[in-house]
């Protein structure tokens, strides 16, 4: 069966969204390989259900919610509780951000920091602080109450700030 013009347009939009979809998936999986698998699964599901997309709002929000649901199912299947397998943020000595490091090292440290933040914090932070979703939109995408969005967001910000300020204090 040949894809219709409408289907092709949808696919083109998906391709354009891939960097953002991968980034969102990273906040859920904190693992590049799992993130790519998750994005692929989400895109496949989005294409087969593209007739359900009403064109209102952001397409990525619709797919983000799909991605999050797929990941919850996957976690359930793996019988892994959310956040397990990662070391507590405060215990990680090597995650300090070196403000004076060269650009490449600094970027690598920042990336590592994001990948090791607890899933509940980094997803909320990405949606609200980086992509400008409202609290309500973030809550809908992640399937959590708005109050949880607010508390996770403030916790994420404080933890991120601690990473760089503690390093600065240690140097002085």
């Amino acid at each position: 069966m040949h894809p219709t013009a409408e289907s092709n347009e949808f696919r083109r939009e998906l391709v354009g969204l891939l960097p953002k979809l991968r980034r969102f998936a990273m906040t859920l999986t904190r693992n590049g390989s799992d993130a790519d698998d998750l994005v692929q699964e989400a895109c496949e599901r989005a294409i087969t259900r593209s007739h359900l997309w009403n064109g209102e709002g952001r397409l990525e929000s619709w797919i983000y919610a799909m991605t999050r649901n797929l990941w919850v199912d996957e976690i359930r299947k793996r019988k892994v509780r959310t956040g397990s397998g990662t070391v507590d943020f405060s215990e990680q000595d090597d995650l300090r951000i070196e403000a004076s490091a060269d650009k490449a090292v600094y970027a690598k440290q920042l990336h590592k920091l994001i990948m090791t933040m607890p899933e509940g914090l980094s997803s909320v932070f990405l949606l609200v602080n980086v992509e400008g979703h409202s609290y309500r939109e973030a809550a809908d995408i992640l399937g959590i109450p708005i109050g949880t969005v607010m508390s996770r967001l403030s916790t994420a910000r404080i933890r991120l700030a601690a990473m760089i300020s503690e390093q600065t204090e240690r140097r002085t």
Binding site: H2, S7, R11, M150, L160
Partner: protein, 279 residues
Amino acid sequence: MESTQGLPLEVRLSAYLDGQLSHAEANEIDGILAHDEKARTLFNRLKLGSDLGRKAFEDMLHEPVPLDLVRNIKLVSIDGGQDAGRPLPSEPPKEVASYGTSARLGAAGLVLLLAGGSAGYLLGAQHAAPAAPAQVAQSRSWLDDIADYHRIYARQTRHLAEVPAAESAHIADWLTAAVGVDFKIPDLTANRLSFQGARLLVAGGKPTAQLLYKDDDGEIFAVCFQRIDPALEKTELDDSIRDDLGLISWQAGTASFVVVGPSSDPALETIAQAVAQTI
């Protein structure tokens, strides 16, 4: 607007930072910040964390997207699974796979399908050896030749074309006579493609015209066509992939056409549509 009354100060300040508070609550926070130094320190830490995290996430957008993801988006059929419409001699049955395996299977879909085809050939060879070479020969089409040529010529930066674009009038006369297809060189500048020149190839055993284009990033695209028995009517655009190359082909009048370019380029079909309308 959300109410943060009764919530911890850092949560209220965080919501204030996002502009998610009502006018009355925002005024209240203004007052707290004006008189409470600890609150100001906490607010500055929240802002610092915001800026740091935003930078980290923005950098993540610049990471290269795996080509497999792009390809599989193009290959997923609308009714689920990978598009099975590729001309393969022996196709393994579809299986329902769980997440974690299905995604990897999808990424390796073409490889598995080709492996299935090869395995079918090898198994068949034990029982019906004479038929196998014919199957293999039939599985190659003029599009496979086009893809092979493209991989070679797209890398010839100094000798990309046999006849340069400056001789467009000659190219039209020459290839019309050699291939037996009347055509106009498509102007694809609206698609950010500049005409580079042309070559005469042999694809599927027939003389074939190859018109070469380059985009702003230096990627090479080609429009190829050859004469066929008259088609009853213009066919739909057919999208197929050969590893790193995407090919969109169709038939119209007395010619088969194909546009070839990087499979990762989502604009390939738009380019093919422009060619189909103007050539």
